[in-house]
Amino acid sequence: MPESMTAKLVQFWSLVQGANALNPDAFRAIEVHPAGILLAITVILLVGLSQSIGQGIVLFLNQVKPIRFVLSLGIAAILFVFSVAFWVLSVWVVSHLLYGVDVSFLKVFRVLGLSYAPLLWSFLVAIPYLGVPINVVLSVWSLLAFVRGFSVVTELDRWQVLGSAICGWMVFQIMQRTIGRPAIALGHWVSSSVAGVPLVTNLRQLEQTVQSSFTKAVDNPNRN
């Protein structure tokens, strides 16, 4: 048992390394892997966790308590899986409609799930000062992995892949603002319930609250 666990882990890391190196073989491997879906979901879950750690400042600024903080990280990771699933769905629909791609959704999901692998490093975004440029590098890196992975599974050229990504992104945005609103609201409700406070996610607004809390308090010493 432990041996097979280790073997699976090794397999998992080799796939992730392949995706990070933008190696087409890694994407071809997950496409036909018997546990491909599970692997893809694992990658996305870990990426979700890594990202929420990288952006943990939002939870801190909302003054979330420690236990709830950890739970919030977990919930954020799970919600991220759903969000990726919807995003892959939009890209899949768009590529089908635009370029007549005829590949099953699950295959696309496996490959695009693996293409998130570079974002496993997203926790590094939390590094002070260097985090912001790291974020840019990781975003470009994962976009390249997306292009490579999607072209492997659909055999589209890179411009068609980019077209699918852009149109898919637009569809995804429109969905979020229209029929997806209940889902978004549900996700927000879940996050806020777990965090124990109504979560404000606009960083600029949060920072203004932090800064004005000092000057206002000094200006109005009698305020309770």
Binding site: G56, F60, V132, Q211, A217
Partner: protein
């Protein structure tokens, strides 16, 4: 140690940090292939071990970096005790502290080597030396700038045992290098402070720590005792992060002294008093700042640091051959400089001198640079004193410009009255009050609802911002005499707009005479006065110069003869002084060939006054034909008028020196005549000065121009008995080097003045708009509503706000706020008022039934309001800041470029003066207005070096 580990992980609050540590450990095995390749290629065992150690070190550094913001964030989230209450006062003093006589408070923030609340011996030595040299100042010490909890590394924290071990080990010679760990840890905290995400929280925390430190040392908020933050190395970054918040909350002058400081340059330091940056020539650490932090690169010219440098807020001081840390650093008590002092002594001397304001170095010059205005002051004829009062002029040929004229004089602080008012040196008064001429009376406001509203809207405290001070040094004319005054009203801001009392004005509207309780005569007005040039005017032709000197020309003129209606009247000689060149070396007007000007046959209005020798000095000129209401051409039809406005009216080629007057009507049905007493809306746009002496603003590919509204009235000219236009501009104009003030200007001043006016310099298009629906007074149910007057009121508010910069002393121009935008904001406010006035009426069916005669007027009013709004703001919604009357006036574009551009887009038709003007005129034409377009193109004497430039259109 093991127990402590267990304890650590049993506590929930360490779970998240634990996760942070574990995740990279899980991920490390799958480090990217390049690293594995690096390791694989290394042959020797020792090299491999070295590389492994290096990689482990890198991993540890990443983990440490990830953990570095945790203390700050955990503090804010309340993980280490009480949650931060955003509404709680940061003051920790339980009892009011006894007043202290301290002249200044100095807060010391140590460098990144700090690990306990006391400092390294050399820093302690520095502080005690400083304390001895500054006995009347309080040095606040004991602050740990690398912990928002103000906890030193070795005390009461989870890792304190580790840090104690490190400090113990580094005292042993062999492990000395371990001291670097403390530096790295604190350096990471400096990075937290510089981070755009964590920085605000960290700086807020440090502001609190410093605030508490000050209070504990007896500082009283509100006492305005100055504060200096003295930061060494990374302490400078902490100082710059916390300073803006501290200054805002303590309302005290705040300086920063940065000793070999390393900082990022994106803190909002522009409102600080000053920053002194002291660096040694051999300091390698300080030099990393300008390289590592992009906001300190010269190309980032909009960064706060670069803007602060540009404004002279930063003084750089070289410490000579000095390094960073001891040995050899700024606090080294042993190494000596060539002059015999130790490094430490030199640093103490510099800081002491700065704090005692005995800086033995050149202060940045506070004397303003020369400007067109300051140069013009050299001309004697530009001073009001050059024209003595009481000199009688021949009334048959010279008429006063207005019944009431005089000079505004700013009262001293103890002469100020509760209601806005200034001294008024009477230069001319109506016959009943001619005895007041030459006297100083008190000018103030009548007590009307509008005046009360006006005063309450625009009266404010005036404290110069750093921008205002900077602009003053750049030569702009700012209200420097009012700096620090409280409750400055519109008359005070007008009288004090320039450095001296040289504002000569005419009074507008009805004038009431009263007296103050102390017997001083009081003149009360209900409208802003208008700036004028001269006191009297004549109508005459130039014949020829009779004498030319370097100072000017004596010109023979012939007056208009009312009986023959020809220029065959009295012949006499007037004096045209040579005007002073402006800052670009160009004389704003010329006396050359005035008699050959195409405007000479129709004559000129000569504005001026007799000088000490009694000769009439021509201060301003105006071509008479421009005002006669007799157009050269008439254009009828929507398409034709639009084509004229867009294309023909700005053709500048071949028209230099000429004027034109074109009447526009959208249809034959619209009236084409003007009548005595008609009040008209004036819309003004000017273009640029090109040619050999192109003005700096016009050297780029496009020239924006300037937009203003104004008021014109059809009056009867007593010297000719003809009808003519009398025009005043309402200039919404930012502070400038020409000394042009945002206020009402009589045509003689804004256009005609030979020194300050534009007649001879710029192409100008003035549209005089007659639309009864807009200019009539509507007596609706007892309330008099006049759209033109409402606009006039709103423009007066806008001009008064521009004069004080809403209390900051300066107004800047940007895409969202400029002459055209803000003039039209005033129009928008007026239209809103009309809308409010008519909506309530038109909803009342019973009122409409009982007042059928007024129903049509109400409808007309509503329509004009709606159509103007639609035309000027085609995207439907008005700008939020216009609707809410937000007090944001032209802040500098550097503050929020994206937002300003976005705001400008919403009201794009009013961004460019020419486009805005076309839109306004077209809108009025479509509603049946008659428009007289008056153009002047560099009219007057010959100036061959310049050519007209049209403002940019689309």
């Amino acid at each position: 140690m093991g127990n402590q580990m267990m304890h650590t992980f049993r506590q929930a609050r360490y779970i998240a940090p634990g996760g942070l540590v574990l995740l990279p450990l899980v991920l490390l095995p799958q480090m990217p292939p390049p690293l594995a390749l690096v390791r694989g290629n290394v042959g020797h065992e020792t090299e491999r071990i070295f590389l492994d150690l290096l990689l482990m070190g890198l991993g540890a550094l990443i983990v440490a970096a990830l953990l570095s913001p945790l203390e700050t964030l955990g503090w804010w989230a309340g993980w280490y005790g009480d949650q931060v209450d955003p509404h709680r006062t940061p003051c920790t003093a339980e009892e009011p502290l006894p007043p202290t006589q301290a002249r200044r408070y100095i807060v010391y923030l140590d460098g990144i080597g700090q690990f306990k609340s006391t400092y390294a011996p050399e820093a302690e030595q520095f502080l005690s030396a400083l304390g001895q040299s500054l006995p009347d100042m309080v040095v606040v010490r004991g602050i740990t700038p690398y912990s928002v909890l103000n906890k030193p590394l070795i005390e009461d924290r989870p890792m304190s045992a580790f840090w104690r071990l490190v400090t113990w080990l580094r005292s042993k010679h062999f492990f000395k290098v371990l001291g670097m760990l403390i530096n790295i840890r604190n350096l990471l905290v400096v990075l937290v402070s510089t981070d755009t995400r964590y920085g605000p929280v960290y700086n807020r925390g440090m502001a609190q720590v410093i605030y508490n430190g000050l209070i504990n040392e007896g500082y009283r908020p509100g006492s305005r005792v100055p504060i200096t933050l003295l930061g060494f190395s990374g302490g400078s970054e902490i100082a710059m992060g916390a300073a803006p918040l501290l200054q805002q909350s303590l309302d005290a002058p705040l300086d920063i002294i940065s000793l070999a400081g390393v900082f990022c340059g994106h803190n909002k330091i522009l409102n600080l008093n000053h920053i002194y940056h002291l660096v040694g020539d051999k300091d390698p650490v300080e030099r990393t700042g300008p390289v590592l932090f992009p906001k300190r690169w010269k190309v980032m010219f909009l960064s706060y640091w670069n803007r602060a440098k540009k404004r002279g807020l930063v003084t750089f001081i070289s410490l000579g051959p000095v390094g960073h840390q001891t040995p050899g650093g700024v606090f080294d008590p042993n190494l000596r400089l060539p002059d015999g002092r130790t490094h430490l002594q030199q640093t103490v001397d510099w800081v002491t001198n700065i704090l005692q304001e005995k800086l033995p170095l050149e202060q940045p010059s506070t004397a303003p640079c020369p400007s067109s205005y300051s140069l013009a002051q050299q001309g004697d004829f530009n001073q009001p004193e050059a024209y003595p009062l009481g000199v009688v002029v021949d009334a048959a040929h010279y008429r006063p410009i207005a019944p009431w004229m005089g000079r505004l004089i700013l009262p001293t602080l103890d002469q100020r009255q509760p209601q806005d008012g200034v001294w008024f040196e009477v230069h001319h008064a109506t016959a009943d009050y001619s005895h007041l001429v030459g006297q100083r009376v008190w000018l103030s406001w009548q007590n009307t609802p509008w005046v009360r509203q006006y005063l309450s809207t625009v009266t404010r405290d005036l404290h110069f911002s750093a921008d205002a001070d900077y602009s003053r040094r750049q030569g702009k004319v700012v209200p420097e005499r009012l700096n620090g005054w409280r409750q400055v009203g519109p008359l005070e801001s007008l009288a004090g707009a320039r450095p001296t009392d040289n504002m000569v004005v005419m009074l507008n509207g009805p004038v009431q005479i009263d007296s103050l309780p102390n017997g001083v005569v009081q003149v009360l007005i209900d409208q802003d006065p208008a700036q004028i040039s001269g006191r009297f005017y004549a109508i005459a032709q130039f014949i020829a110069p009779s004498q030319t000197t370097a100072d000017g020309m004596l010109y023979r003129i012939r007056h208009f003869n009312r009986s023959t209606r020809q220029f065959d009247g009295l012949e006499e000689v007037v004096w045209l002084p040579q005007v002073v060149p402006n800052i670009n070396g160009l004389r704003p007007s010329s006396n050359q060939n005035l008699e050959r000007s195409p405007c000479n046959p129709d004559g000129w209005y000569l504005y001026g006054a007799p000088d000490r020798s009694g000769r009439f000095v021509v201060q301003a000129l105006a071509p008479r034909a421009l005002f006669t209401l007799i157009p050269d051409q008439e254009i009828v039809g929507k398409t034709a008028t639009r084509r004229y406005l867009k294309q023909v009216s700005w053709t500048v080629k071949g028209v230099k020196g000429t004027i034109s007057s074109v009447l526009l009507r959208a249809s034959e049905k619209d009236s084409s005549s003007f009548h005595l007493g008609d009040r008209l809306l004036l819309n003004h746009v000017y273009g640029g000065v090109g040619g050999q002496m192109t003005e700096p603003a016009a050297r780029g590919p496009i020239y924006f121009g300037h937009f203003a509204y104004g008021l014109a009235e059809v009056v009867q000219e007593p010297l000719t008995d003809d009808l003519r236009l009398e025009m005043q501009y309402f200039q919404v104009y930012t502070q400038n080097g020409d000394g042009l003030i945002a206020c009402r200007h009589h045509w003689s001043n804004y256009m005609g003045d030979r020194q300050f006016g534009w007649l001879n310099l710029r192409p100008v298009r003035d549209a005089v708009i007659k639309l009864d629906a807009f200019t009539n007074r509507y007596d609706i149910d007892g309330d008099v509503v006049c759209p033109l007057e409402l606009l006039q009121h709103q423009l007066q508010i806008m001009m008064a706000r521009y004069r004080t910069g809403d209390g900051s002393g300066i107004t800047y121009v940007g895409p969202a706020n400029n002459c055209a935008q803000d003039s039209n904001q005033a129009l928008y406010a007026a239209l809103q008022q009309i809308n409010r006035a008519t909506t309530t009426l038109s909803n009342s069916v019973s009122w409409l039934q009982t007042h059928p005669d007024q129903a049509g007027q109400v409808k007309q009013l509503q329509q004009i309001g709606l159509s103007l709004k639609r035309d000027l703001l085609p995207w439907g919604t008005a700008r939020a800041d216009w609707q809410n009357h937000e007090a944001v006036l032209g802040s500098s574009l550097e503050d929020d470029p994206v937002k300003q551009l976005a705001t400008a887009l919403v009201s794009w038709r009013t961004v460019l003066p020419r486009i805005a003007s076309d839109a306004v005129i077209t809108s009025f034409l479509q509603r049946g207005a008659t428009v007289l377009v008056l153009r002047t193109t560099q009219v007057g004497g010959t100036i061959p070096e310049i050519e007209p430039i049209a403002p940019v259109g689309l």
